[in-house]
């Protein structure tokens, strides 16, 4: 549903604009990319239906919500198929979990969490991860600061 979609320069301009601010009105968006509002509406609808645009997410301040301590948990699980799905499910059920990554390498998973403080993080790691039977090892790293990259756009091909 989302592979090899043809994106012309106008589509790319739309994606760039909306990634800066997904609340941009269709009218402004059309003016910014140089097409009529009705055409712009079609373009965005197509980008949605083809799966290029997956949705719009609210960016919230974790500190303002009382979760100022963010960390990465690197986790090794027992090498059996069938433990992966329950593990991921359990990780996603924790309110502190922001994202889960299944990785190559020595550590099987990385879980990005936002905790209320050191004691909350300690409880999360020990009770919700280390204590689980399929979890072999948890290594915790704190996040000092983080930055978001610019708009995600296709690689520039010289074809």
């Amino acid at each position: 549903m989302a592979s090899d979609v043809r994106l012309d320069p106008v589509d790319l301009a739309i994606l760039r604009e909306l990634q800066n601010d997904a609340r941009t009105t269709n009218k402004e968006l059309a003016a910014a990319v140089g097409i009529a509002p009705s055409t712009c509406l079609d373009r965005v609808a197509r980008l949605r239906s083809t799966g290029v645009i997956l949705g719009t997410a609210l960016r919230v301040d974790a500190s303002a919500l009382g979760r100022p301590l963010q960390a990465l948990l690197f986790i090794r699980v027992q090498p059996h198929r069938g433990v992966l799905e329950p593990f991921v499910k359990h990780a996603l059920e924790q309110p502190e979990t922001r994202a889960v990554f299944h990785l190559t390498g020595a550590d099987d998973f990385m879980v990005h969490v936002a905790a209320a403080g050191a004691s909350d993080l300690q409880r999360l790691v020990l009770d919700q991860f280390t204590a689980r039977p399929e979890v072999a090892l948890v290594h915790t790293t704190l996040i000092f600061q983080q930055w978001e990259g610019g708009p995600l756009l296709p690689p520039t091909t010289s074809s």
Copy 2:
């Protein structure tokens, strides 16, 4: 600007709704949380002005945009103040970069990237990171799959 903001149950309901779908109309949102549309507009505006809501981001499919290979780069830099800012700036300037994290522990930074393929990733790591003088070591891990967590909400306090 964003610390110790008082959030009542209505605010939390608004945040939960909008994190599910940031395009929810104000009318629907008001109905969902049980207040008048105009009141709801005030609430959301306050959440924005107080910095709880930082913005709305478009979620795009990296594969659909021709960047199907995502990876984490763990990077150690020379232990001198003054190298951090230029390094972060350079990392964020790469079109493949999705996010940059400054970490505790042996590795100073983790850079989340989305590449067009193995050769693009190789070029990125070698030419844009390993080649830089302040970079001491780069360790690359591929991402098999990733999941997003649920809505980020304040910890439930029993006060």
